[in-house]
Symmetry: C2
Subunit: 211 residues, 2 copies
């Protein structure tokens, strides 16, 4: 095994360090965040640092970078108080990556990257028609993390569309069957195989596959 310490990391060239450190947290979901500015302009941006925060109430967190990338997303969320989170399938991956280019505010990534807006009446952010899991969130809190200028955005799930054939009787949603892909680092997209599910772990018996 190769050993690397903190001083090595700090000494690395910027892009090499960004690639390496972004990879350390492993596989991540690939999510498209849809927003609008309230004046007719929509925005779509790929985010991978999205995580479960709680089920009751249903809360999802996402990290918005401090720099100007995805600034439009955060401004729109603050303006309208809502945003969407839609999954990325294999067929959508190159378009989803393309949303990370720096389009002008007046040019929507939906059209530029090959996606179709879907609107829910009374909800001021667009969903992605092509996705197989679509979440509408209402902003609850933004924490500005002084340690490095990133923003933790916390939203509550208000609307949800999913494909019933991938939803198990116990509430599990099969992302592999739904075609969702995983991402690593800044630019890698992976297809994923069917899961093994385990029963709730107990100290008095070994882990058992859930049938």
């Amino acid at each position: 095994m190769k050993y690397i310490n903190n001083a090595d990391i700090l000494s690395y060239e910027k892009q090499y360090r960004a690639n390496l450190i972004n990879c350390l947290s492993g596989f991540k979901g690939a999510h498209l965040v849809g927003t609008a500015d309230g004046n007719g302009f929509s925005n779509l941006a790929i985010f991978s640092n999205v995580f479960h925060l709680g089920a009751n109430p249903p809360l999802i967190g996402l990290i918005n970078r401090p720099d100007s990338v995805n600034r439009g997303t955060l401004e729109n969320i603050k303006k309208t108080g809502v945003y969407t989170l839609c999954n990325v399938t294999e067929a959508m991956k190159s378009g989803a990556h393309q949303t990370s280019a720096r389009y002008a505010h007046e040019e929507s990534e939906f059209g530029a990257c090959g996606f179709t807006e879907e609107w829910l009446e009374g909800f001021a952010a667009p969903f992605v028609k092509e996705s197989t899991l679509k979440i509408g969130l209402e902003l609850r809190e933004i924490h500005n993390l002084a340690i490095n200028g990133t923003h933790l955005v916390i939203g509550e799930v208000k609307h949800l569309w999913l494909d019933e054939q991938y939803l198990s009787a116990d509430g599990f949603y099969d992302h592999a069957a739904a075609g969702s892909i995983a991402t690593v680092g800044l630019d890698a997209y992976h297809t994923v195989n069917s899961p093994t599910r385990f029963e709730y772990a107990k100290t008095d018996k070994p882990t058992t596959v859930l049938k």
Copy 2:
């Protein structure tokens, strides 16, 4: 597509809701967090809500649940100021899931679940010998998120071991080749296929595969 709203979610039975909402954020890395209490007792716990927070300095965030599960991890991190994050491979998955059972403080999940402690001199938390990516972190901040009682733990990467054969010349680490698995929800583990990497996206050209 099946439509579900916030009121539906709140009305669901607890375990169904936990399964469903935990699945919404899609694929996640599976990580073993290693800690010790400073009195000779080690602890190992699986975490999936781990995310990249920044590359310079190299920061990783993790969410610790509010309830008593994984309480030992958080107490140990507060006590010693350090912890480890090691990846989970296919061969390790049932043992990694088993760490979520509620072992007594005096019984280490390392031994109970089939893992081997690896110590770095002067660093007060154990690494997992079986992993193919091992990270030693120093606690920087804990944010108690009042919205639902969870804890955001932010650590800085101080030590890192990785397998050089999976490290690209540009800093990308190939988790699929390193055998890392992805997880979804509370109990699903997935093997993952080789990535497609894309070039940095620009508005004046379509997304291109990185060779």
